[in-house]
Symmetry: C3
Subunit: 344 residues, 3 copies
């Protein structure tokens, strides 16, 4: 695609186009990061990126960047075509969507799919090889259900969802629209509910369901359990990375982002816009307020107020944790000093 065509695309997009300067209207064949880009490739550079130092080594033919005089001057000197926008990352995402084809399965139901006769499947769906769809399940239009996935009975799926290979979606799950469920993820499996009695565990039947609102994306090898009664609920726009555990009866707000290997124990309530870094854990029934940010490996075992930035285990203010952690390293010195003072 010609560079000028990509510029037109960006102008119409959501990155807030500012200006562009095309030295040569080349055919752009590919997109790459600044250090790996070759001729006829486009890249992007945000103003706070350390790759800025290596700008004179790039072979990229065009660079999307922010309105930063230093970068723009360098690009002009190097005679690299540039496209200046407020949000280069958004523009780069738009370019990638344009340069690469989307998922290319054509609508239709593969003959090896096993579909209960009471299930209803909407128009323009792709149902891949060896997919299983159970009784009374309702599937809307324009969904992709890839090979080996299993959707049990009494599931409701809206429109425009992608369910990747080898997923399992259990009874009583509702999945709205424009969701992505990545491979080998399980939605609606039975919650871990056991009652101690006489040294053994009695099973609490898990008869509830899972409701996932629109624009939710869930990574690979994740688990979202259903509760004994009621719902496990994930609200609109929330994104989960891989290997994430969502316990039974958890409620997650809108537009959260949880990194890989996060675990949310049963009954926890997470607000809107919460960001949890990798390997964070949240205890049973804990409430995490809107827009809380927890750094990696943080253990949240009491309620956290809105807007806090937390770290460590037990979770504390990120800044205090950084200070305490730096002193933790010096504990042997401190203990020695204390012994010396004590002797005086």
């Amino acid at each position: 695609m010609l560079l000028s065509e990509l510029v037109d695309l960006i102008k119409k997009g959501n990155s807030n186009f500012i200006n562009s300067n095309i030295f040569e209207d080349l055919n752009i064949e590919d997109a790459a990061s600044l250090d790996e880009a070759d001729n006829n490739q486009i890249s992007f550079l945000e103003e706070n990126n350390i790759l800025k130092e290596k700008l004179n080594q790039t072979k990229a033919s065009a660079i999307i960047t922010s309105d930063n005089n230093e970068i723009i001057n360098t690009l002009e000197k190097l005679m690299i075509s540039n496209i200046i926008v407020k949000n280069p990352r958004i523009a780069f995402a738009e370019v990638l969507n344009c340069l690469y084809k989307k998922i290319n399965f054509k609508p239709g139901i593969h003959p090896s799919a096993v579909i209960d006769k009471t299930a209803i499947i909407g128009s323009d769906c792709y149902v891949g090889p060896n997919v299983y769809i159970g009784e009374n399940t309702l599937i809307g239009s324009n969904n992709y259900i890839l090979q080996g996935s299993s959707i049990l009975g009494n599931v409701q799926i809206g429109d425009n969802n992608i369910i990747h290979p080898n997923c399992v979606i259990y009874e009583n799950t509702i999945l709205k629209n424009f969701c992505v469920i990545n491979s080998n993820t399980v939605i609606g499996s039975e919650g871990f509910g056991f009652i101690p009695k006489d040294g053994k565990w009695v099973k609490m039947p898990q008869k509830g369901g899972v409701k996932i609102m629109s624009f939710v994306e869930i990574g690979t090898n994740c688990c979202v359990d259903r509760p004994a009664v009621g719902l496990t609920f994930i609200d609109e726009g929330t994104k989960l990375d891989n290997l994430v555990q969502i316990g039974h009866g958890v409620r997650i707000g809108k537009n959260c982002a949880f990194a890989a290997q996060v675990g949310i124990a049963g009954g926890a309530k997470i607000g809107d816009g919460v960001i949890l870094a990798g390997q964070v854990g949240v205890n049973n029934r804990v409430k995490v307020g809107n827009n809380v940010v927890a750094s990696s490996k943080c253990g949240i075992h009491t309620d956290i107020e809105e807007g806090r930035v937390i770290s460590g285990f037990p979770a504390m203010n990120n800044k205090s944790w950084l200070r305490s952690s730096s002193i933790f390293k010096k504990l042997p010195e401190l203990a020695k000093k204390l012994r010396q003072l004590d002797k005086k």
Copy 2:
């Protein structure tokens, strides 16, 4: 089902029935938590539950509760039918089992299942679509093996087990009776055994097996590895949540409960009745005594005596950990104070 019929059910059950008071013998259509229950629904309330405060807001038509005068008096005033038992949670589990149908796959072998001609399958089994069963595998009666699961050769499965979709069970696995293996879990995969030699890793062949006793339940996306020689062993009544790793040659006692994302490294020996909270890790070859309880994210890297309650990493007594952790937060103050004293 009529409320009076549910009361009869509870009387015959294991919750230790004490008394009941039915204001109106309504048809109970559903069960729900106290804050979500509607008319014609039943709920439960334990005496130490904070939902007690909201009892006057519930719409539940009947409540199972413990023998607590305050709760009973409130229910009587509100004219809510009540069933008093020693263990309300057990009674509620019995009610759920009664109100909801069990798994409803009818016995039979789906024509798409691929079953080796030397495999033997007992009576009243359900073998779902695209299931694979390998050579010389023996499967008892009344098992449910759901779609997409793969059971390799030389596996022995007893009676009354449920193997959920897309599980993989490897050669040399023995699974006794009344077990539940949830979706996408892998049992008997090769242990992580590599020998360092000249800067590379030489593979130690993993030729052992896995033995899982009766009434074990394993969550979704779990891994139970087989060892080089001998067995990985999980004893009767133990329950594992999702995303749990059981390394090669691990031995786990009876009636343990491990929460999500727990990892047990190779050769560790876990006693009976051990409870490990979420994201706990146990190091190679460590021995954990009977009835040990470890709180979330605990790292156990030395042997732990019977009955201890532990936290933190390295693991220590829970109470000491709580005290030390509260001082950790104040380390900057302590360090400052120490500097001041030192200057004097």
Copy 3:
């Protein structure tokens, strides 16, 4: 197999044979650990192994051991046949490979496999039931692709690989030779790339690929994500245990070993020979030098120089961490002492 034949095998192997003493040339039927071995079974004992104390209780008919006088004398007294080598573990691995049959699927393509007509599959491959292979995918010779695995379009697979059941390998993955991908693992799924904009998350399309060099082994239920552009890369001889997360754009060197539940966040660069114990986490874009060893649960959030042995979170020298951790337990005492000194 006769013991004398096993000795011949070991002589030709890589364990550096030193000497052997056969009391009786029995038929060796099985291999087992020292404490579980029975008559007609072979075992091994390294000189620093605590099982040394129990040597007089073993029933093993032959023991592979190192050149340690104490052990050899004991074995001679007990009249247990012994094989002395420099590396007993390597010899034992060779014996196991000899005593047990390898994977026994015969080459051929199962009729239920769904293979795009543009895919090319080399000679002597086994393609199991319900396998899916997409368009333009190239598969070399002597590969085992077990039941239920899904290999999407534009994948290149070399020779002599084993892909266990229910794996998913996405577009733009290159897998070289002699690799093992264990069950339910996903390679090349889309990276977790979302751009914050107006309180929501805009998806960065993930159009890159994954390249896995020869002799790499990946455990069960792992995730290796592809990046927006460029490659996620795992170099020759690296071994990953179960439930490991490799983020988008990560580069991993040669001959690393990562234990279960390790997570490597997007863009991190790991050197050669790096060993990460269970549940270790590495932050985005961090660089970890060659031969770094991190103990379990370590959190690496800044660059780590070559050869360091680290622990804790934030990661610090292992020895310092052990010292600081032992003082952490005594923090309440220290704080008390400090208060007393302050009062004086």
